[in-house]
Amino acid sequence: MSEKNQILTDRQLLDMFYYMLLARRSDERMWLLNRSGKIPFVVSCQGQEAMQVASSFALAKGVDYTAPYYRDVGVVLTMGMTVKELFLQAFAKAEDPNSGGRQMPGHFGHRKLNMLSGSSPVTTQVPHAVGMALALKMKQQPAVSFVTLGEGSSNQGDFHEGLNFASVHDLPVIVMVENNQYAISCGIEQQVNCAKISDRALGYGIHGETVDGNDPVAVYTAVKAARERALNGEGPSLIEAVGYRLTPHSSDDNDLTYRTKEEVNAAKEKDGLIIFRQQLKKQGILTDELESGYESKIKALIDEATTYADEAPYADEQTLFDGVYHQ
């Protein structure tokens, strides 16, 4: 990392660290809330904060469009969703800007933030992001469209159709596969037989690249370059960020039915958040004081958001009929 440091200021590195920590702590809180019966469902970002936050840092807030997938707590926070909004969706309350509590937690979407609404069927967001890029190109907007998905999801037809379309039409879209090695219980070798997911880029004639998803500077660099290519009319990029899913698939899963504690613990050694923290500390960029300041600021934010969201009302049942069609 150190040799790449010049591309990001200390301030930026610290900001990235802050958002990674914010994502992690928010996620941890949601598990607590789930285990204590407060919220029925969590799907987690843990282990993927580095790739999520770093990629988002390479985008232009308020300009670029994102189509995040269900694990992207790091993306949505970095792109401007507030902690309060995040918890409103975890509690499925009326005020939740993502869906007003209509969707399960983890189904993001926020028009003011240029964030497309996502669904549960995986990979449908890829063509959407491509379509958004088509509109940006047609309207000659200096912006890109950024979309994420899991490595398992890269086997859906929509991945293929979306990337091919984007390439034929040279569209400004960045597709980032968050390879966390698992699709629920299925390891990567049950999902694909290629060496790297980014090997698929060749079949679309686009730029493909695999980066260490635990290394935020590497991810940032790759996405930044992809964004520049996209803005230069050089078309889409496929970036694979390799990490590990540190939690079970969701709060409904028991991952020890298909992987071992040892494997998970080994992965924790490579946890991007921990390593980045150590690096920043070693480099003297992150001090103990700064860190504890972040931790307490984050805790306060999360506490406040939790209380607010917990107490906020659900949507009234009368609203059931709203928004089927334009009214």
């Binding site: 993502n98 979407g109 028009r111 609404s117 069927p121 379509g131 928004g323 334009h326």
Partner: protein
């Protein structure tokens, strides 16, 4: 007034809307240089250029999915599916995404996309170029399904579909393309989506249908009039969601109802029409609710005797009308 065929009316609708609104564009297979395999988009490529008349790769899920993404930017895509039979790879994008976008995002996002596809039989198209697939989508709130029965309706309904703030499936009968011609005003024609149309008034029996069967029914009704029976003929125009009020009133008017579709009978649009009548005006009826439809075989075969046996025709309609009238 100008005499126009059904397909010319469709062409005119697209041209007018593309001239009126820069955000309207067309995408699909062979819609550009070739002007569509039926030539529905003839002249559009020349007038609006390849940026707004887009030949896509052969991938329907992408055609619709990319259209959805562009529509989320605020564009007004017309996605052409070459034959309705080939819409099936795009069902996930249509039902999971387009239909649910507004609802799931609590009115934050919407999909003003029009999906056009030729449907229907009697053209030696065999199993996969003759189907009526509207029933498949006609249980999905969030969608609207429009099926014009005449050149003028084709014009007015397509223009309304393109302007509609929600996703509209617009199914055009490929046999009607060149078979049906009529005088159409040169001024703007807009027809409201969601409303049925009384094509003919009569007191002896009510026929409710849509698409090309309206034409069969008009002719059969004229013939039946010579037998002294006057048909109240209602064209549904929008087959989903149905115009309940119009259906109920038409059924009540004569007390004898014949429902017609060229689709397979079981689970078709007219099943719902029947259920509406049975729920709301059962005691106004003097006869069972009759249905005339294609038989419950998978799709229309190619060999002429089989095609003929399968397809609803003016003769079959006439015979059934007479039976109901004499009931």
């Amino acid at each position: 007034m100008t005499v126009m065929s059904y397909i010319e009316a469709i062409n005119r609708a697209m041209k007018e809307e593309m001239r009126r609104d820069d955000d309207v564009f067309l995408l699909g297979e062979d819609v550009g240089k070739r002007g569509g395999v039926f030539r529905a988009s003839e002249g559009l490529y020349e007038e609006f250029g390849e940026a707004r008349v887009i030949d896509t790769p052969l991938a329907e899920s992408a055609i619709v999915g990319v259209g959805i993404g562009a529509s989320m930017y605020g564009m007004k895509p017309i996605a052409e599916i070459q034959f309705v039979d080939f819409i099936l790879p795009a069902v996930n994008q249509i039902i999971s995404e387009a239909a649910k976008m507004r609802y799931r995002s609590n009115n934050d996002w919407s999909c003003p996309i029009t999906i056009r596809a030729p449907y229907g039989g009697g053209v030696h198209g065999a199993l996969y170029h003759s189907q009526s697939l509207e029933a498949l989508f006609a249980s999905q709130p969030g969608l609207k399904i429009v099926m014009p029965s005449s050149p003028k309706d084709a014009l007015g309904l397509l223009k309304a579909a393109i302007r509609d703030p929600d996703p509209v499936l617009y199914f055009e009968h490929k046999k009607a393309y060149r078979l049906l011609k009529e005088d159409i005003p040169d001024e703007e024609v807009l027809i409201e989506i969601g409303k049925a149309n009384t094509v003919r008034e009569g007191d002896d029996l009510t026929v409710i249908t849509y698409g090309l069967c309206v034409e069969f029914s008009k002719k059969a009704a004229e013939k039946l009039a010579t037998q002294g029976y006057e048909v109240e003929l209602v064209d549904l125009r929008t087959v989903y969601p149905l115009d309940e009020q119009a259906i109920i009133e038409a059924a009540k008017k004569t007390g004898k109802v014949l429902l017609i579709t060229e689709d397979n009978k079981e689970g078709s649009i007219i099943s719902e029409v029947s259920a509406i009548i049975a729920e709301h005006c059962l005691f106004d009826l003097d006869a069972p609710i009759f249905r005339l439809a294609a038989p419950n075989v998978p799709a229309m075969p190619y060999a002429p005797p089989l095609e003929k046996a399968f397809m609803v025709s003016e003769d079959k309609v006439y015979e059934k009308m007479l039976e109901v009238a004499q009931y």
